[in-house]
Amino acid sequence: MRIRRRYLFYLLAILSSIALSTSATFDSIISANYIKEPWVFCLSFFVLGLIFTILALLFLSLPYKDKKIGSFLDPSFGGIRMIRKEELKYHLIAGLGNAGTTIGYYFIVSRLVEPSIILSFSQLVILYLLLVEAVAENNAPTFAEVQSAMVVTFGAILGSLSLSGNVDLNALLIVLLVINPTWVMFSIGQRKLKILRINGKANDSLNIRLWNLIFTTIFVFIAILFVDKNFVSMSLWAIKNSFEFLLIGVISTFFSVVLFIRAMGIGKASVTQAIRASSVFISIPFFYIAGKFFPITIPTDPLLIILKIIALILVMIGVISFALTEVKAYIFINIKPCYSIAKLSEEILDINGITAVDITAGSYDIIAKVRTRTLGKGYERIVRALENIRGIENFKWQSILKEWEEI
């Protein structure tokens, strides 16, 4: 199928939000009706999640028409496999990040009766990611990116607020200093893994999810042993007693994370996270449907509904403005005689904003692909950098007006 890459990215991120909303709905049903102890819920969810993921990947590794079944979920999937040496450090970062976020979250919910006001500040993670990308990837955000990210973040905070609950300073500090930074570790680690090439091929989101879950479960298990050892046996009972609901939550989380990882392989982590924040609103109809069958808390206050509508508009505007601010181009480059094309191509690939470089035979020596937020940034970062490379005879910039890519 050939579609525009941008559409694929948004499709994956939005599908991930829908799966996340399903998962959040079942989380509420389980925690309100079946597993009251947050730590028991946490461990049972991870243990069942790990068992399901292993079985799912074994099934997805079965061949179908010269491919693996899992290639329908991620075309890079070539079957379940062991972790590679080059992946280990990113899996440790992502696993610690995921475990940190989980432990921080359950610490708050096990100590606060109504933590929704505090937890809405976890949406600030979009801005954390923007900041980290600016530093770690030397990819300073444009004004348009900062503006869009702020609009989405504050929209998401507004959308996830509740009129009840209390503001606890310690809990707020846990969100700002533990949950958000560890979620950044989790996102960046997974993005790094997704764009890592294994044996010259793109890494797949299914194996990334499996190994992240293995590491996270180990870290969470160790942490729960420190909280209360009895929670381990209680978790196993909880799996037995609430198996169906836990399983639905686990399946929807699996799809949500796999699609999230795939999306992060295409776009920046901050933008993917911003789109995923739409789950705050997507989950509303899910909660209303679930509320017909199970006793869970559903917002009915008119003021809260107005706030959520305003927040929804803000998030939509933010996401759309993210989508509209991207410039892509090809640059055709000729190299002077007596210079190594191979060496210069590596130098060109190092320029920030250049995403791919192809050495070609024909009228041009190199064709480079550019992805940047604005034309101005394209000039400042790329054109100026190319002009400073000795050995380039001339280059032509061809702005892409519209593009379709094979997926």
Binding site: Y330, G362, S399, L401
Partner: protein
């Protein structure tokens, strides 16, 4: 596997029709409408040079195509950050 860029120039007023025909072709990784010396840039992925010749031949047959320039890719590199 052989990959190549096919840089296409069209006659004025034919871009939309040419593009619609291009999107029906197989063995194509991406199609981009561009502003500059060319009008359309195609990235093709074929098994043999003969298949590449067949593809460029099909492109030549599309009404509205003025000229093509094929650049065979010798090495591909992507950003790993």
């Amino acid at each position: 596997m052989i990959k190549a860029y096919i840089l296409i120039t069209t006659y004025v007023g034919n871009l939309k029709a040419v593009l619609e025909e291009m999107r029906k072709l197989k063995d194509i990784e991406s199609i981009a409408v561009v502003a500059g010396d060319y009008d359309i840039i195609i990235k093709a992925k074929v098994k043999t040079l003969e298949e590449l010749m067949e593809l460029t031949d099909k492109i030549h047959e599309i009404k509205g195509v003025k000229r093509t320039n094929t650049q065979v890719i010798e090495k591909e590199m992507e950003v790993e950050t």
